[in-house]
């Protein structure tokens, strides 16, 4: 691919990414996130919320740039892979909606992407300073979560790991050991049902996130998700993800495939530790490796012209339906417009 053609394609994808994130974000009736109100509660003018949104948009776009740079550094020769990865991320509904609202998750995500970029760069340059910087940004990422919780409720530092304080699990373990009704052999009950069940429960919640319906279909009935009940990734990518995932060790070198697998596992850790139920928004960290698996699947299957055309048609349909559905559901949730929400909050605060 010629350099100017490649550059034009990159610019075009960035233009799409910008438009899809920017259009409509200053609409005062397109409000939902209480976090936005809380975050700016110290300012008397409610319109300052839009400043936060603009910042989120900026962070989203910069994160996209760094994602592109990471893939460029890892696969400098494979231009198609770079473009496909950029495109899949640019239109990813969850990433798009993360860039349209003021949440600290967006900031956290930005720091993580930056840290990964610095780590890859540090490995190439053999620079320990860059490595140190990367860990600093990872710490920032973690800190952005804690600061959010502390500002609102002054919660202890371990509070985000909600799974370990879930009263339901504690009661379940006690009941399984015969706390309420004694049954079975008590020594066996004590042997099988103890604190190790936290780990089993966590593992169960952890692997549940990777269920295809959570990634490519309607998410769980979770009103706090920015996407409501819509798809974090476009459904059309599901078969490509499955194919890319299982063929990754064949397509990539063993080391790269292994690192990718680790990134996928690590990406699911924050959301699985936060609560005993699924936290859709926090699963954003896993969407980077998932997008990469999609790209692997796409480039491997994408061989015949006919299939390409069919895929593009389906992709356009999927984009139209998905985005329309998200916006439509968003509008009809009868959430309060920002202005009212803000004034109600301020009054309550008084």
């Amino acid at each position: 691919m010629k350099k100017w053609v490649f550059s034009n394609k990159v610019l075009f994808i960035f233009l799409i990414a910008f438009l899809i994130r920017f259009l409509g974000i200053f609409n005062p009736y397109f409000g939902v996130n209480k976090g936005e109100v809380i975050w700016f509660s110290f300012v008397s003018n409610w319109q300052v919320i839009y400043l936060g949104r603009f910042l989120a948009l900026l962070l989203g776009l910069i994160s996209l740039v760094f994602c592109f740079k990471i893939i460029k550094m890892l696969f400098p020769e494979n231009k198609n892979r770079q473009l496909l990865f950029l495109f899949v991320l640019a239109i990813n509904p969850q990433f798009v909606f993360l860039s349209r609202f003021t949440t600290l998750l967006g900031l956290s995500f930005f720091f993580v992407v930056l840290a990964v970029y610095l780590l890859v760069r540090a490995r190439q340059k053999h620079s320990w300073i860059l490595c140190l910087l990367a860990f600093l940004f990872l710490f920032f990422s973690l800190f952005s979560w804690f600061s959010f919780n502390r500002q609102v409720d002054f919660l202890p530092a371990w509070e985000p790991f909600g799974i370990f304080s879930d009263i339901g699990i504690i009661n379940a373990i006690n009941d399984s050991r015969g706390a309420e009704i004694e049954f079975g052999i008590q020594s066996i009950a004590r042997l099988l049902y103890n604190k190790s069940y936290y780990f089993v429960f966590w593992l169960s919640s952890f692997v549940k996130q990777y269920s295809l319906n959570h990634i490519f279909s309607l998410v769980e009935n979770n009103g706090t998700s920015l996407l409501f009940e819509n798809t974090p990734m476009l459904l059309i990518f599901a078969p490509f993800f499955v194919f890319g995932f299982f063929k990754s060790f064949e397509i990539l070198s063993y080391n790269k495939a292994f690192v990718l697998l680790i990134a996928l596992v690590a990406g699911g850790l924050p959301s699985s530790l936060l609560s005993s139920s699924f936290v859709q928004d926090a699963f954003i960290f896993a969407l980077l490796p998932i997008s990469f698996y999609v790209v692997l699947g796409l480039e491997h299957i994408w061989k015949k012209k006919l299939w390409q055309n069919i895929f593009i048609l389906l992709l356009i349909a999927n984009i139209l339906v998905s985005y329309y559905k998200i916006i439509d559901d968003f509008k009809r949730t009868e959430k309060l417009p920002n202005q009212r929400l803000y004034s109600e909050f301020m009054e309550a605060k008084k």
Partner: protein
């Protein structure tokens, strides 16, 4: 020892394991006959005695049963067992347990036919023999176990017959047709699998087209009554009632969407309309079967949410399942056609369940078996081979082998504890625990009362379980089918026979009845309202929670 002897020994071992898991304490666990079991058992008994089901229909192809039009094969196959062992828990459960014990043997041959690897086949068959997914449904009277057995046999014959120019394909047609008669899920699964088979093996099928045509003719001949039935109102009743469009969740979603529907443009109606919502809901339902939490941690639903539970596969299988898919996709040197068949089966398996109205339904997705076990077995085989070849410290090999053995032991032991100890405590009411005791008491003391009124509704948090006490009364009283036939014909008011009446109990009115025995849950016969001396018996659930009260009214 020769290879043949080893194989026979392996087969005996597989059957032994499967038999143990399915027959051990079969009469006692599940703790009571469920609604389906008791009515299937009595219908088989009725056919045995009179040639008619309990509605009085002669040799039906679709049993009206409790209004859900059950598939016929299991009921007919139950007759010999009921003749030999009698109309009791063991007799009713025997046929499925036996077929369930034989299924891992068929799985062994099928997997060997696909992978040409006896060790993997042995591991996979053993995993199926001890699989919670299969044991659960083999230990109770579920038609799906039978349908799976015929399905696997049919595909085995198809693959075996590829070598002899498709001479036995007519047998495939026979078994697959029988499978479609056996359970509803197969009615959706088998046509889809046949299309994949036709695409995957198109060259060979074209090559032996005469035998393929013969198989088609045999299938069509067997299926003619079935096809007629499918177009009748009887056949459609079941399909309509369980189709996913009737799902409660989807109904709510659709109700929310049609708010302000009239004022919306065509674009709005197209992009966020009925078709899009129904399609995306079905996709969600289908993809839910890829949930590893369902597969390995929670799928069996033996306990309440957040309680320790068991998946449809064991915990220890999770890494081997993932490894198995990697191996199958990248490493094994098996025919491309057979590899495609394995993946097609795996992906089509949840199709019937996704088209029905519940999320993550292990029974309806039983069609996926034995592919998950094949993949786990492949993973275990690959891991053991790697362990033998890899040059690491010998002691670490011993530790790894020991850890694997321990993980398998703990997983199975844990499952048995959940199944035999915890599940009855949590869910005995769903198995209608207490109905047998109430029915037996009623029969023993029947002469003392003019009428016995048996209430079908009960529940723990609410009166949300509807049982069929008449079937328990018929079964445990070994009532002659002619009595229920004539009772069904009368069809005016609540069902009644032999002094039993099956309707809701209403204490403020029913207390005025003379010389009657009322059997109902505490929702209708609250111990606070009823004088203690009137309560002749109290029946508890398996966990000791009082559920049914047997109350007598004034004698004169």
């Amino acid at each position: 020892m020769t290879n043949k002897k080893r194989q026979i020994l392996a087969l005996f071992f597989i059957f032994g394991v499967a038999f143990f898991f399915r027959f051990w304490k079969l009469s006692h666990y599940p703790v009571s006959l469920s609604i389906d079991e008791v009515i299937i058992g009595y219908d088989a008994y009725s056919i045995l005695k009179t040639g008619k089901d309990h509605w009085g229909e002669f040799l039906p192809l679709s049993f009206k049963s409790v209004g859900d039009y059950k598939s016929p094969v299991l009921i007919y196959l139950l007759i010999p067992a009921i003749k030999i062992f009698g109309l009791n828990e063991f007799g009713i459960r025997f046929t499925t347990a036996l077929i369930g014990s034989l299924t891992p043997l068929v799985a062994y041959f099928l997997i060997n036919c696909l992978l040409k690897n006896k060790t993997v086949s042995l591991f996979s068959a053993l995993l199926l023999a001890a699989s919670p997914w299969h044991i659960q449904f083999s230990r109770a009277t579920f038609e799906a176990v039978l349908a799976l057995f015929f399905l696997m046999t049919g595909i085995l014959v198809f693959l075996k017959s590829l070598k002899n120019k498709g001479k036995w394909w007519w047998l495939t047609g026979f078994f697959l047709s029988l499978s479609m008669y056996s359970y509803h899920a197969e009615k959706a699964f088998i046509p889809a699998l046949l299309v994949s088979l036709a695409v995957i093996f198109r060259k060979k099928i074209w090559q032996f087209k005469r035998n393929a045509f013969l198989a088609l003719v045999v299938s069509l001949l067997i299926l003619i009554p079935f096809i007629c039935l499918m177009f009748s109102s009887q056949g459609q009743t079941r399909a309509r009632s369980v189709f996913f469009t009737n799902d409660f969740e989807l109904r709510i979603l659709r109700l929310e969407k049609i708010k302000n529907w009239s004022g919306r443009s065509i674009i709005e109606k197209t992009l966020n309309g009925e078709i899009v919502n129904i399609a995306s809901f079905w996709v969600k339902r289908y993809l839910e079967y890829s949930d590893f939490s369902y597969l390995f941690f929670k799928g069996m639903n033996y306990t309440h949410p957040k309680f320790p539970d068991v998946g449809v596969m064991y915990y220890f299988e999770l890494p081997f399942f993932l490894l198995g898919i990697f191996v199958l996709a990248n490493k094994t040197k098996i025919d491309k056609e057979k590899k495609t068949l394995i993946f097609s089966w795996l992906f089509l398996g949840p199709l019937p369940a996704s088209l029905a109205n519940n999320s993550q339904h292990p029974l309806r997705s039983l069609t996926t078996l034995p592919m998950p076990q094949l993949i786990s077995g492949l993973g275990i085989w690959y891991f053991i081979n790697w362990l033998r070849k890899v040059k690491i410290w010998k002691m670490s090999k011993v530790i790894l082998s020991f850890a694997l053995g321990l993980a398998i032991f703990i997983s199975i032991f844990y499952y048995l504890d959940i199944y035999y100890v915890h599940c009855p405590v949590h869910y005995s009411h769903y198995w209608m625990y207490g109905m047998k005791e109430a029915a037996l008491y009623a029969w023993q003391n029947k002469d003392q009362y003019d009428q016995i009124i048996f209430d079908p509704d009960f529940g723990i948090e609410a009166k949300n379980i509807r049982s069929i006490p008449f079937a328990y009364v018929l079964t445990y009283g070994q009532v002659s089918p002619e009595i229920i036939h004539s009772a069904r014909k009368e069809n005016n008011g609540p069902l009644s026979f032999e002094g039993f009446v099956f309707r809701n109990v209403y204490w403020p009115e029913d207390k005025n009845l003379k010389n009657a025995l009322l059997i109902a849950s505490f929702w209708q016969l609250s111990p606070k309202e009823i004088p203690t001396e009137k309560v002749v018996k109290m029946i508890s659930l398996y966990n000791g929670q009082p559920m049914f009260y047997l109350v007598e009214t004034d004698k004169e």
